[in-house]
Symmetry: C2
Subunit: 330 residues, 2 copies
């Protein structure tokens, strides 16, 4: 049987017990050109909150009564598809379920000998590539830049900071709590950490970036984005990668009141989603894999076990109760 | 004697009778390297509202008890400066006064035989150059783009729309009232006009741009910016030139709540001020002068007479009670 988390209701604010339902269905038959994947690790991403809103976005919303959408690493159990064979490990949109039947579109192979499987949901996967393209392309990173990143202990932010260090930048991370701040400074090599739960973020940004910020990589939105906008250098780049502080808001998004700083400084604010760079995934995955292998990027996953714990795990994305990439082990 | 408008108090919200004071002082003596200019037309610009706030910006605020800062076209009355001679007409930061003594820094000559003097405060001056660099450089305009511009009947917006038409774009302007809308459609050749005082702006944007906007040139901020953000095409460019709806606000700026549209569409929002392009003024002035001479850009000025009417004239910038460039005749 195939355990699946089904979207039953679109939540207002924080998803509750009525949002998803765990059901069991028959494992489907493999047809011509198809393969059956057993999911091993399901990728837990803040973007999933957006996918269950009934709103026009970069991909269609998950339909009611469909399996919840998620990236996943799995093992091919049976294949009638020329490109994949039994025993291959693959990443793709496997969904929050035990088994995925697919024609292989959007799936690619991963190498379990190079890195632990769960790393392919994180640093050598979508979050890593998000950091890579967001920082280097959208953020137009240059050697020596002053880089500020929020959500700095998370799956994307931790890689952003480490790539910026590889590129000889000064890196300041914003994270919640002394433990995470210690982690990004001591273990990941950030120059400074700002604890948004216990420090005056705006004052600390100006203290650590007395001449301003070249690149602000924003994962959180809200007040922290506004604080960062007060410290832009001329020609600064603000990368809009996410707004996790706003996703569960019930009274609308908070816009950045200080956006006129873009005018004063001739600066830009640019958004992206990883799908815009689909034709360059292999470039990013190779670079990330090499940096991980060389020990230049440290990866960390918080692994929770059990598909029945999906909702509780999902909520950890927003409570901040995790470090690095959050993964659900099937 | 030299009549001058002096900044006496920094206003909260709309400037009142205590903001400026009209005084008379002696006309100063011309020293070595200096020249004395008699101002003819003073340029009235929304940006002046920002210059009197006590806030860090792209130029220092006007100091209390100083002459109010303003661009102005004037005639050189006496010169001990090698670059200018008596009878030259010049543009520069002449201030809200009858006479300006200067070493010539930041002043350049204008040709009264090519266009009326007041045009050099508008289309062939700062506002025209603002439109030129904002649309072509910041907005990265391409032939055939769908261009939306707010403040479309104003000094900058009217030129933005006309340059976009020269570049074979589809142009939609947002302006206040049927008279202005008629003006930009019938006289300036915009494809569509949206009357924000009488029409549903968001619905009209989607009606006139069914496939979305490539470039949104924003002069107003507030709700209109938010409406425009709902209609971005992939890779759209939002040019932040001003936020006139917010300048007199007493409860802070409204940030654009819909800024996550930048993420969904891989779009950018970029600000600028004309001073960032100081090394390319002559390029822009030549192009603008040529388009005006060829009749491809129509210019209009609303001229109010009398330096004593400065504050009332200033307020017209925000009440919308003018068309094209607002100028104070000395």
């Amino acid at each position: 049987m195939n355990k699946q988390q089904i979207l039953r209701n679109r939540p207002v604010g924080v998803p509750d017990e009525k949002t998803w339902e765990l059901i069991e269905t028959e494992i489907p038959e493999v047809g011509d050109g198809e393969m059956l994947i057993r999911n091993k690790f399901i990728s837990m991403d803040p973007a999933m909150r957006g996918w269950i809103n009934d709103a026009r976005s970069y991909i269609p919303p998950v339909k009611l009564d469909d399996v919840m959408r998620a990236g996943a690493v799995g093992e091919v159990m049976e294949s009638k598809n020329d490109k994949f064979k039994k025993g291959d490990f693959v990443f793709g949109m496997g969904g929050v379920q035990q088994y995925k039947l697919t024609d292989g579109k959007g799936f690619y192979k991963v190498d379990p000998s190079m890195a632990p499987l769960e790393t392919y949901t994180g640093t050598i996967g979508m979050p890593g590539m998000t950091a890579y393209f967001g920082l280097l392309d959208v953020g137009e990173l240059k050697e020596g830049d002053v880089v500020l990143v929020s959500g700095a202990a998370g799956a994307v932010g931790s890689v952003v900071g480490q790539i910026a260090k590889i590129k000889n930048c000064t890196v300041i991370g914003i994270a919640g709590g002394p433990q995470k701040c210690n982690y990004i400074k001591k273990e990941l090599g950030f120059d400074h950490a700002i604890d948004y739960k216990n420090e005056n973020v705006r004052r600390k940004i100006h203290e650590y970036c007395p001449d301003g910020i070249d690149v602000y990589f924003d994962n959180v939105g809200g007040d922290i984005l506004d604080h960062a906008l007060t410290a832009l250098k001329k020609k600064a780049r603000v990368v809009i990668c996410g707004a996790i502080s706003q996703y569960n808001s019930t009274d609308g998004m908070k816009g950045p009141s200080n956006y006129m700083s873009l005018l004063v400084n001739g600066a830009k604010m640019e958004g992206f989603v990883i799908f815009h760079f689909a034709d360059r995934y292999s470039e990013a995955l190779q670079a990330l894999g090499r940096w991980v292998a060389e020990g230049k990027i440290k990866t960390e996953e918080t692994v929770i076990e059990g598909i029945e714990n999906f909702r509780d795990t999902f909520l950890k994305l927003f409570s901040g109760d995790k470090r690095g990439k959050l993964v659900l082990k099937v």
